[in-house]
Each structure stands twice: as structure tokens, then as C-alpha cells.
Subunit: 257 residues, 2 copies
Amino acid sequence: MTSSSVTAIHSRDNAFVKDLRRLAQDTTAYRKQGRVWLEGDHLCRAALARGLRASVAVFSESFWPQAQVEYARAATKFIVLADALFADVSGLESPAAMGFILDLPAPASLRPDAATVVLDRVQDAGNVGSILRSASAFGFRQVAAIKGSAALWSPKVLRAGMGAHFALDLIEGLALDDLAALQVPLLVTSSHAGDFLHRAALPWPCAWVMGHEGQGVSPALEDRASLRIRIAQPGGEESLNVAAAAAICLHASGAGR
Amino acid sequence: MTSSSVTAIHSRDNAFVKDLRRLAQDTTAYRKQGRVWLEGDHLCRAALARGLRASVAVFSESFWPQAQVEYARAATKFIVLADALFADVSGLESPAAMGFILDLPAPASLRPDAATVVLDRVQDAGNVGSILRSASAFGFRQVAAIKGSAALWSPKVLRAGMGAHFALDLIEGLALDDLAALQVPLLVTSSHAGDFLHRAALPWPCAWVMGHEGQGVSPALEDRASLRIRIAQPGGEESLNVAAAAAICLHASGAGR
């Protein structure tokens, strides 16, 4: 038997609540606190399914009667917040009724031979989360984020990632030169050069580079690419959303292997 | 020679400003006002490139000296707002320095034989905008949104669409039965049935159905599909982001035709 504790909190000024509010609402608070905030049952269940356990499980008061049955084994420390307080901490337009605080996984180091997605200053949290989902779905093992990319463990990226974080090794804050450690071929998309993706023979494993929403992949990184690949756009639109382009490229690499 | 007017506005309570604030910040205000708000030079230039013209062009005071040269032909009616007022009207975290008010295009009717993307209650504005970009890039002609999908001409969807709106016929507020008018085969993705996309022979033109972020395609619509297609996910993730799935499917249909 393990013992567990349940604490009810009603005050906005409680120290735990203040820290949690920061964790839930500040994009990079997880770096200072060394822990992350997973809000909503989908994300929490995804963490449990990967064998992770919450360091603290947090529930709204009205969900607690049901939660203490459903989530009895999810943590040893439970916090119950008044509903309005939970909503205040969450900061979401539609706050969930639960969340987990999880210790931030120890930083992985870049594996030279792993199928990789490189994020070259991708800014938008929704895009980054979507790319993580695609990476995980198509068999990539690690995501390497160049300094200037969205913070990978921010609450927004976690929500958009829908659990993909737990299936990948995530390395962030890299300099361009750190990528020299990668031994797999580097692939970039180009609007004007290279083979068309739907006809190209793609190496596996490989590292796909996805670039900044406005500026694309930085020239220094493009120069290091082994392969430039074009996505045929018969409609002639000037560019795709970066997460859409990533989905197409990662699928092409992953499917049919 | 055409005559043009320039009006400077400094008051938050000005009637034009109040209407514009609603147009810029309320998701569905365009339906009442019969006009849409394009914020930022990228979106405005995309409209101009398609031969559209602003009914009113709006600039921040500090951008006006440059704008009156660059955008002299974009409209006949120009409004200049104090910078703080422009920011207040915009509501964006990083407000642009300009925007166009455009008359809402007359509603198109469903073309039975056109390559189509059907949005079956896709909720997220960023997803819908990304899907519109992919649709346009891969040669689809019309997007048909079932009632319950995000409002297609909302400012958020317009921003995420990056100009794709102007290359497509957009029909919204459809009932499921309205789709009976489509003569092209209906395609849906399935997690468990059908051919794998990367091996499938896809008909062209066709109509791809993209479903609600949580619930997927409604069963009634799935029943009408001519073809079910699976996206191979060797990584075993449970699902892709809907805009990512759309990108993969639309690319597969469009590229190499």
C-alpha cells in the first residue's frame, strides 16, 4: 500500500496555486520550475499510457468525487481546487476539470543516428504541437529545436501535441553547430529546387528540417542539407503552413517503409 | 483620375471605429456587416494580387506617410487611425500597421463537379486556415463547410489562410444533405479501414472530407463516402492533427496529376 495525500485549496494567494498559475500560463515557466503542466484528461491519460505518473494531480472540486475513483493510482499527491480557482489557474477559455504536474524529463542528448525532425525557429505553438504529433505518428524518434523555436514543453505546445511529447526525445535550445553531431542525411524543402517529393527516393533514417513561419529554413542550415525536396503545388499557392508541409514530408518518409 | 478621401480618426467612440473593432474581433461579425477585415500587409497584398480592391484601407498614423505612396491605388477611401487606436481596434497581440475592409464576396453555390474540400465541423480557426492553404496549393477549387465549422471569413481564419480565401470558392453553413449535389466521389480517412493512402489510386476530381477535431467525420457522412483511405502511421500515434491529415491527403490527390 502507498499512502496518498489530498489537499483542498481555496485561496488565490496560496503559494502552490501561484506557482501552478505561472506553470499553466507562462510559456517558459517550466524551465525554472523543472516540471510541466498537463491540462485535460486526454493529455493526462496519454502520459499515464506511456507509464508516466503525476507528481501532483490537480482536480476541480466538482470533478473530484469522480476523479478520486478514476485517477486513484495516477499520483500520491492530490490537490483539489475550488472550480473558480481552477479556472483562474488554467487561464484557458474552456478550462478543463483536471491536470497533472509532471517532472520535466531529463534533457536527452542528440542521438546521431535517429530519425529526427529539426525545428529551425518554428514560432507558433500550434504548429510545433502538430509537428510533434506528425513526427511521432510517422516513426521519428527525436525532435531537435534550434534556439528561437517555441518552447517545446509550454502548455500550448503540450495541448497541441496531444501526447506526442511522451513518445519522442525532445532536445531544445540547440545552436546550428550542434546539428553537426547528426549522422543521418539532412533534408530540406525548397520552393524552386530539388526532386518533387512524390517522386523522390527518400533516405531512412533522415532528419527533416522545418523552418520559421515567415523566413523558412535559415540559409546556413540549407547549405548543410544533403537533399532538397520540392512539394508540387499545382494550385500555385505561394507556400504551405509549416505544419502542413511537415505532415506531408514526414508521411512521405514514414509511410511505406 | 479617380478622387479619393482620407479621414483621420482619433476617437474610440467613432461609429466607424466601433464597427471595425467588432469586425476585427468578433468571429462572425462579417456576416452581419457583409464585409471582412484583412489585417497585415501580407493578407492585403494577397487580395490585391487577385485583383480585389479594398472598400476602405485603414492605416496606423505612423505607417501612413509610407502607406499613402505604397497603397495609393488600393482603395479610394482611406482611414488613418492613431497608433494606439489601431492597436485597440486590432485586438492582436502584435497589431499590424494596416488592414483592408473588403466586401464579402457573394456566396458561391456548390459546383457539383469541382475538386472540393468538405469541412465537417472543423472547429479550430488555425486548422481551417491551414486547410484552406493546402486546398488552394493542391488545386482544389471549392471548400464546403458544414454548419458548425469555424466561420470561414473570421479574422483568425483569414490570417491563418494567408490569402488562400481569394483563390477558392467558399460555401458555408451547409447541411449534410446539401452535399448530395456533389457529383465527385467523396473520400474520407479512416483509422482502421480502406487502402493506405500512399498506395491508393485516387480519383480526380474528388471531395475530401475533413472532420471535427475530437469526433472526426460524422457517421452519416462517412456512410456516403465512395472511398475510405488510411494514413499509415508506423509510429502508432492515435491520430494526426486534422490540418496535418488534410495536407497529406490533398497533396496525395493534387501532386503528380
